[in-house]
C-alpha cells in the first residue's frame, strides 16, 4: 500500500508542476512552441517588456549556415511569384491581439540581380516580433500562430512553408498580476 501512495504523490507533484508553469518575469523569455520543416527551425517565444507589454517572437533558424530567408515585406505570393516572405501571424480566432507592426531583428538586403524588390535577409537566423495583448484570465490556453518562410542558398532553393500553424500555450494576463 505504501508504494501506490508514493506513486500517487509523485504524479500529483508532476501534474502540479506542469499545470503551474511559471509565467515569464520582467525581461525573461518563455518558449511557447517550436517546429522544424524544410531546413528551418522556428521557435516561438513570449517576452515581458519593461513597459509591461508583451512581445511575441518567432526565431527562424536555418539548419545550414548558408541558407537565407526572404524579407517579411515581399508579397505573400512572392515578387512576380518568386520567393516567399518570412512571416509570423496570429491565427484568426486567437485570443491574443497584435498591437504593433511586425518588426525584424536584421535588415533585409537588395539582391545583386533582378528582381531587385526580392529583398533577402543575410544568411542565418532571423527573429520577427510584435507586441501583443494577452487574453484575460489567470490560466494557460491553447492557441496557434501561423508562420511562412522559404530558404535558398548557393545550392538552390528549398520548398516554401506557407501558412503553417504552430501549436502554442499562452498565459492569461492575470498570471502576471
Amino acid at each position: 500500500m505504501k508504494y501506490p501512495l508514493n506513486i500517487l504523490i509523485f504524479l500529483v507533484f508532476i501534474f502540479t508542476s506542469i499545470s503551474c508553469r511559471a509565467a515569464p518575469a520582467l525581461g525573461e523569455s518563455l518558449k511557447l512552441g517550436s517546429s522544424a520543416e524544410n531546413n528551418v527551425e522556428v521557435t516561438i517565444t513570449l517576452e515581458r517588456g519593461n513597459d509591461d507589454r508583451f512581445v511575441l517572437s518567432a526565431t527562424f533558424t536555418p539548419q545550414s549556415p548558408s541558407l537565407h530567408l526572404y524579407s517579411k515585406d515581399i508579397p505573400k505570393t512572392g515578387v512576380n511569384g518568386l520567393g516567399r516572405p518570412t512571416l509570423l501571424e496570429l491565427s484568426e480566432d486567437s485570443p491574443m491581439r497584435a498591437i504593433s507592426e511586425l518588426t525584424e531583428n536584421v535588415s533585409p538586403q537588395t539582391p545583386a540581380t533582378p528582381p531587385l524588390e526580392l529583398l533577402t535577409y543575410p544568411a542565418g537566423p532571423v527573429t520577427l516580433s510584435f507586441h501583443i495583448l494577452l487574453p484575460e484570465g489567470d490560466s494557460w490556453a491553447n492557441d496557434e500562430v501561423i508562420v511562412t518562410y522559404m530558404t535558398c542558398d548557393e545550392r538552390g532553393c528549398r520548398p516554401p512553408v506557407q501558412q503553417k500553424p504552430i501549436a502554442i500555450r499562452i498565459p492569461g494576463r492575470g498570471l502576471f498580476q
Binding site: 518568386l82 520567393g83 540581380t113 535558398c152 542558398d153 538552390g156 532553393c157 528549398r158 520548398p159 516554401p160
Partner: protein
Amino acid sequence: MRKKILYTVLPLFFLACNFLFPVTQQDENPLPTQSEPASVQSTSSFTIVRIHKQDGELLTQLAAEAQKAKTLNQKPFIEFDATWCPPCIAIDNSIKAEDPLTISAFEGVYLIRADVDEWGWGDGKTFTVEAIPIYYELENSGNPTGAVIDGGAWNEDIPENFAPVLDAFFHKQ
C-alpha cells in the same frame, strides 16, 4: 413647335455621332486563336519540354522523351524546378532573352523540366532532390547516368557564372 424640332434633331444628332465616331469594341481578354504547344520550346540547337504528372509515370515519360532526344541527336537531361524558385527563373529568363553564353551552354541539350510542386522532391531512389534547380544527366533509355549538378556549382545566378558551369556539365564526354 420647338419641342417637335428638338425631338427630330436629337436622334439625327446621335446617329451622326455614331457614324462619325464609331465605337470599336475591344476584347480585354482575347482568347488564343490556336492551342499553344506551351510545354515544348525548341530552337535549332536545343529543346526544352515540360512533363506533367497527368501524362504518366516519371520514368515512362523520361524514356519516351529520351527517345525523342535521340532522334534529334540531342543529349537528354531532367531539371527539377518551380515557379517560385529565383535561380530557376533566372536561368529560364536568360534562355528566353537569348543570352549568348546561355544559348551556347544549352546547345545540343534536350531538357526535360519537372516542377517539384507537381512531381514532388524526387522519389528518394532514382532522384533525390534537396534543392532546386538541379539537373540530372539521362541515358538514352531515360534512366539517370548518375551525373548531377545543382546551384552549388556556381555562385550568383547570372549567365557569366552558371553558363560556363552548365556548359561543362552538359558537354562533358
